[in-house]
């Protein structure tokens, strides 16, 4: 079996590490003003009535319900899992979320709490674990690999790794690439399957759209299943222009190879109306196929409750209040 990164490089006719890095460095630039204008334009779409209801349900199905705090406990994770499976007990037709996202040492608690309800985001609720010395990524590769293996062994379906932003900013794309490749290998379970790899670019630290575009291509070439904007620990986290740019990269990769890569904006998306703008960006950039848990996720913690409130409003005709959704 050829390794995925080699396979992907071969599709572009890139035969060595040097040629992959050269390819990424030579990518055409991004016009910031134009990109932001495009995102602002997408944000003016007016989603009403039946479309809004469909959008709200879609958002719930795409959420990675997240808790990434120093204060996380097994109890907190159990309560998160309960919310993920039954977001709104008063409206049992409410869909469940795609995944829960936790730290590596919390994976076993999430797996235990889910039991038979665990799946790949479609078949059941997926367990995603951040890894690789999240959120800064400032540790050695060995530790990052061990961190990843630990989470996979404990039953994580998905790994959310961080790239080495310091290396990216100093122009050392070789290191960024090699690390992603190594972590992708660490995601292998040994039975031919692998924990799906989301590569967090931490776009707020890469700062320029040119760098974000390079990092997106590099992550895909190194074997990413998903490219993800942010850890949520750095401002700005996900923004609409950044997500549009990453969707454009994913679209170009698809047109080039026929392979579909996922995108996950994370951090700072708290309101339904913001999330709906992301859905619009997805359908108008890559197409509706991408509104699928295997291809698009929201990394969020407070977004779910706002969507539930909006959903209740659509169903009952009036706004309830913060006490009609649960604090978990």
């Amino acid at each position: 079996m050829t390794f995925i990164a080699t396979e992907r490089a071969n599709r572009l006719g890139l035969s060595s590490l040097d040629s992959v890095v050269a390819f990424v460095k030579a990518l055409p630039g991004v016009d910031a003003v134009g990109l932001e204008a495009r995102a602002a334009n997408l944000a003016t779409r007016s989603i009403k009535n039946s479309s809004k209801m469909a959008a709200l349900d879609t958002i719930i199905r795409l959420i990675d319900l997240t808790t990434l705090e120093g204060a996380d406990t097994a109890g907190k994770v159990r309560s998160l899992v309960a919310k993920a499976a039954t977001p709104d007990a008063s409206h049992p037709d409410t869909p469940r979320v795609a995944a829960v996202c936790v730290y590596p040492d919390m994976v076993e608690h999430a797996v235990a709490a889910l039991g038979s309800r665990q799946g790949d985001g479609v078949t059941g609720i997926s367990v995603a674990s951040v890894a690789t010395a999240f959120p800064s990524g400032r540790s050695t590769l060995d530790i990052k690999i061990a961190d990843t293996r630990y989470a996979v062994e404990k039953g994580a379906n998905e790994i959310d790794m961080v790239i080495d932003r310091g290396a990216a900013l100093s122009g050392d794309w070789e290191t960024v690439y090699s690390e992603i490749r190594a972590i992708r290998e660490a995601c292998d379970r040994g039975d031919g399957t692998h924990a799906h790899l989301k590569v967090i670019l931490e776009t707020g630290e890469l700062a320029t759209y040119d760098a974000i575009k390079r990092a997106s291509w590099l992550a895909i070439l190194a074997g990413a299943d998903f490219i993800k904007t942010s850890t949520g620990k750095v401002q700005p986290a996900a923004t609409l222009p950044t997500t549009v740019l990453m969707l454009e990269v994913v679209r170009d990769w698809f047109l080039l190879t026929g392979e579909k890569i996922g995108v996950k904006p994370a951090g700072g998306i708290r309101q339904s109306k913001d999330a709906i703008r992301y859905l619009v960006a997805v359908v108008e950039t890559v197409g509706e196929d991408w509104l699928h848990p295997h291809l698009f996720r929201f990394g969020a913690s407070s977004l779910l409750n706002d969507v539930l409130l909006q959903r209740q409003k659509m169903l009952t005709g009036h706004y309830s209040g913060p006490d009609y959704v649960t604090v978990d």
Binding site: P28, G29, V30, D31, G34, T44, K48, N49, A54, L279
Partner: protein, 482 residues
Amino acid sequence: MSFMEYAAAPESTSILNIRPHYGLFINNEWVEGRGESFTSISPSTEAELFTVSEADGRDVDRAVTAARAAYDKVWSRMSGAERGKYLFRIARILQERAREFAVAETVDNGKPIKETRDVDVPLAAAWFFYYAGWADKLDHAGLGANPRSLGVAAQIIPWNFPLLMLAWKVAPALAAGNTVVLKPAETTPLTALMFAEVCQQAGLPAGVVNILPGKGSITGRALVEHAGVNKIAFTGSTSVGREIARSVAGSDTKLTLELGGKGANIVFDDAALDQAVEGIIQGIFFNQGHVCCAGSRLLVQENVHDEVLERLTRRLATLRLGDPLDKNTDIGAINSREQLETIHRIANTGEAEGAERWTLDCAIPDKGFWYAPTIFTNVAASNTIARDEIFGPVLSVLTFRTPAEAVTKANNSPYGLSAGIWTEKASRMLTVADQLRAGVIWANTFNKFDPASPFGGYKESGYGREGGRHGLAAYLAKGEGR
């Protein structure tokens, strides 16, 4: 249901208060015109909206007389600071009534509410704010101390941006101390007539702004030929512009002409392509291509031609054509049956002359005037569609191999209003811009307007500038050394 089929999101028309009939606005009063009344229809539904009376020669005379009296007795004697107050007031009223004006413009013109709401109306208010600030600073307009106003300005505006073109003309004229007789386009008089109400609301002295709906051949002709007019500002077709220039030749009437265009939008191979695609769309499909400065000739470097076209057609598939009042509509109706026929006629020559046509596959409403976004590839520089202004959503694509060839091809047009340059290389951007003979050059953007920026053309695109200090100077003359 596909998520892409966004549910209808129509802007409500309940805010509109259209009268069944409008007269002429002369000396702050509504009077009946002596010409034949005509009906204004909505281009998207063909529904009759209201009737308007037409000004004939006698009405024009009456309006010019009122404007002259207002000029002599009130407006030219008023201090700049006082004139500025009126302009600020008008700007604020336009902002307060923004939604109403946006809906009115969309209903009367056919353009999408998204554009009237986000572009036409806010920019019209911005124009009044900008020139309001100039009213007491005319010494700095570039004509030396104490420049003088010209007198009565006759202003004739087109149907593509009815309110915005009114603002472009009325704001600087009033700021400089002139009074105005304005003729809106025959198919789109509504927002100009509503603007008359704004003048009343602002307490503008009688006769400072007079509005005369009517046909170009009757009202327009009588206005430009009137001996009491000191300045003519016209935006419209090159053929009418020529006639006007002829009719004022030999007189001391000042003239500015804003005419047609066949803007070149030049895409180099190092451009940020996704953003360039957005700019191409903004350049030719904004306002259904009814834009004198539209980027209707796309010049693409040959080595990225296929990629640009592929990206462009894929992106165009997400455009929504239909009810202009729907907030999600990108492409509205063509302004009139006559214009629709013109677009068909010229576009059909494209195919006849050997170009390849691509048309967006989209549903066309049963009623109203519509033209689906269309792209012609394999266009030769000699083809009619590469030479003539179509004034519709039709893009002609040509290629070039070197920057020098791009410049030569871009300049090879009787027009010279606008051009666009797409490159990530700043040195190339500046070198090329230097060599283009066009009044407005956009770099890595297109169809962006700002009141501080002068706008106007070279060659058959007209002369004189609107906007900025230059636009103000067009309504002033050097002071007589007091």
